[in-house]
Symmetry: C2
Subunit: 371 residues, 2 copies
DNA sequence: CTGTTAGCGCTTTCAA
DNA sequence: TTGAAAGCGCTAACAG
């Protein structure tokens, strides 16, 4: 147990201030130091020693070695958050909500961006498992690919078996705790709004159909239109990147192909911004006088678009919060009495799902059909 | 060394797949398994064993225990990123750039949001140190508070002493590697642009002056105006939150107080969006016919504002990238021969700084003064 | 209430 | 090449 004779391992003797240095300085045992500094209960340890330990720790600017703690405790204080792209306002809003909750639980957050690459999603999940993240939140939209879903399922399975919790936002085609934004219902509402304004020839500017979010919104729009007695032929749908640029290109193409359309539903606000730009700068068609535009998400900037965007609001920050709470708190979990146990971890409890409604926000980009 | 008899510590016997399980399955020693799976050089270990180890690892879905690895190696594969607010596009753009670089280095990123609370900045820095982050990037603007700077300096000092690298974005009043956006020069350019358009009565909508970014931009504007023969009296400056709402309120107040102003410089695009909203919805003054508005940052949404915002562009993603490269790569470091060493860590090498120019982007929100 | 001690899972000498 | 074994810094029985 003598110091200064280290060989294997790494740093040491270098002056790293470890718990035992603190203990020594305070004249107490390692265990005592550990108890006062990280003692879970707060119980035990007399005042005299406690004070000395705190003092020593303070002087030495001691901070515990997180990895060592994680190793010893077999539980970490970090959670993972996997998104498609942090610079995308949709995800950064979700991230903000999720991080707020993590902060309330005193947890650090590891953020990973997949740039919509399913492979990376799997890879990051594994790395988060390697880091012993206590929980991970998959915020990206799922991919409509059964083979991928299966691998995701497997990866989630081993993560949970290892004691980690997983929550998803949106349908990923796997069974786990999920927060489900009402994509279908929201799109249906958007369509109904247009219909009531007299629009009958409606086009849709969509993102890649592999994204579950896109598929659901498209589905909701189509179903609603049909229920209303209208229809959404395939030529009325143009698919492009789920971005502003994609929206602009798709908007141009759509109106080029079907100039008679009187309204366009963009499947997210970024695309809607692109459609508005196309209408204004490329096509020179007044909105909403000649064509109405409606978006989805209600990003903060939607109200600043010109004209102010009518859209379907999703409470993004709240969605992030709910999802994080799902894995960090157990309030919403049904009684776990029936669940099987294995390795001390409850498995197979019915996955919970939280439904989040979407609400229509009418602004200035939609109007009654004129011609 | 016999298994299945654990007592202290934690998980084990539970079926956790550890390196030694893999080794056993492959019929090799722990050391060998470690070498093939994480061997730095790639050297050593015969083909036969190597293959068996890989196979075993695959079957067992083994992933190494990151914390254990970090503990043993005394170096981690995570970097920290401290921002004010992930939902703020300014920071999410920086974060995107930084994360791209981290990804290229195969590092995970821990993101912390301080919500502009200096205390939290210090706290997170300590926690990142506790997590043994290999480097941390402080992306928040500095605070003009010498006492805080001193504490920050100290915290950064111990972090570096521990072997970590630190980089800052913007002036934090401490000596460390820094990426410096040209706030002063950018603001000066903005003012010159307005001046050339004939504006002489210019107002400024500012964020909190404690933020170094705000102070610098304000400074640059004032200096430029003076150099031009004009001036910026205190009553022409209104301070508010560095947000859209703050901009809206400040815009209203400013024009209420000085209706004769013909141009407003908002110290960031979010505030500019608020000013435009105020002008359009509250004050009903046409832009740029009656008053010109210019922003700062050139967020992606600036072009979609109405009218399209003239602003000063900062290459945010690039800034994030440069900063991360500063701490992850050593390309830009001057020859380190003169630096003092301590604990094997180079200390006191002249901090590097990277200057990033700001460029004026003229769009539709500024015009020649009319009256 | 406090100290001893056996690990947590992995890396890295040192010897073979 | 390969293996044995000594830690890395901390936690948590277990005894006192």
């Amino acid at each position: 147990m003598d110091k200064g004779r280290s060989r294997p391992g790494a740093a040491a003797a270098t002056g790293a201030v470890t718990l035992s240095v603190v203990a020594e300085r305070a004249g107490v045992s390692l265990a005592t130091a550990s108890r006062v500094l990280h003692g879970s209960g707060g119980r035990a340890v007399g005042d005299a020693l406690r004070t000395r330990v705190f003092a020593a720790a303070e002087e030495l600017r001691y901070v515990s070695n997180g990895p060592a703690q994680t190793l010893a405790r077999a539980t970490s204080s970090v959670v993972g958050l996997v998104v498609h792209d942090v610079a995308d306002p949709y995800f950064s809003a979700i991230a903000a909500g999720a991080m707020r909750v993590a902060r309330a639980h005193d947890l650090m957050v590891m953020v990973a961006a997949t740039f919509r690459d399913p492979k990376l999603e799997l890879e990051y999940l594994a790395r988060l498992r390697a880091q012993r993240a206590r929980a991970v939140l998959l915020a990206g939209s799922g991919f409509a690919d059964p083979q991928f879903s299966e691998r995701l399922s497997a990866e989630i399975g081993v993560f949970e078996q290892q004691g980690g919790r997983v929550a998803l936002i949106g349908d990923h085609g796997v069974s786990a705790d999920t927060v489900l934004p009402d994509n279908r219902g929201g799109a249906a509402e958007a369509v109904r709004h247009l219909w009531e304004l007299g629009h009958r020839r409606i086009g849709v500017v969509a993102g890649p159909r592999e994204l579950a979010t896109v598929a659901q919104r498209l589905d909701g729009a189509r179903a609603a239109l049909r229920a209303l007695g209208g229809q959404l032929p395939d030529e009325h749908v143009v698919e492009a990147d789920f971005t502003r640029a994609g929206g602009r290109a798709a908007g141009i193409e759509l109106l080029h192909r079907r100039p008679e359309l009187t309204a366009i539903l963009a499947l997210n606000d970024m695309m809607a911004a692109g459609v508005l730009a196309a209408l204004r700068e490329d096509l020179r068609r007044p909105v909403p006088a000649e064509v109405s535009v409606i978006g989805f998400d209600d990003l903060p900037q939607a109200a600043d678009l010109h004209p102010a965007l009518t859209t379907v609001r999703l409470p993004l920050e709240e969605i992030g919060e709910r999802a994080m709470r799902l894995i960090l708190e157990d309030e919403e979990r049904p009684e776990p009495d029936g669940g099987e146990h294995r390795n001390g971890v409850q498995l197979g409890g019915t996955p919970r799902s939280v439904h989040v409604p979407a609400v229509l926000v009418v602004r200035a980009s939609t109007g009654a059909v004129s011609a």
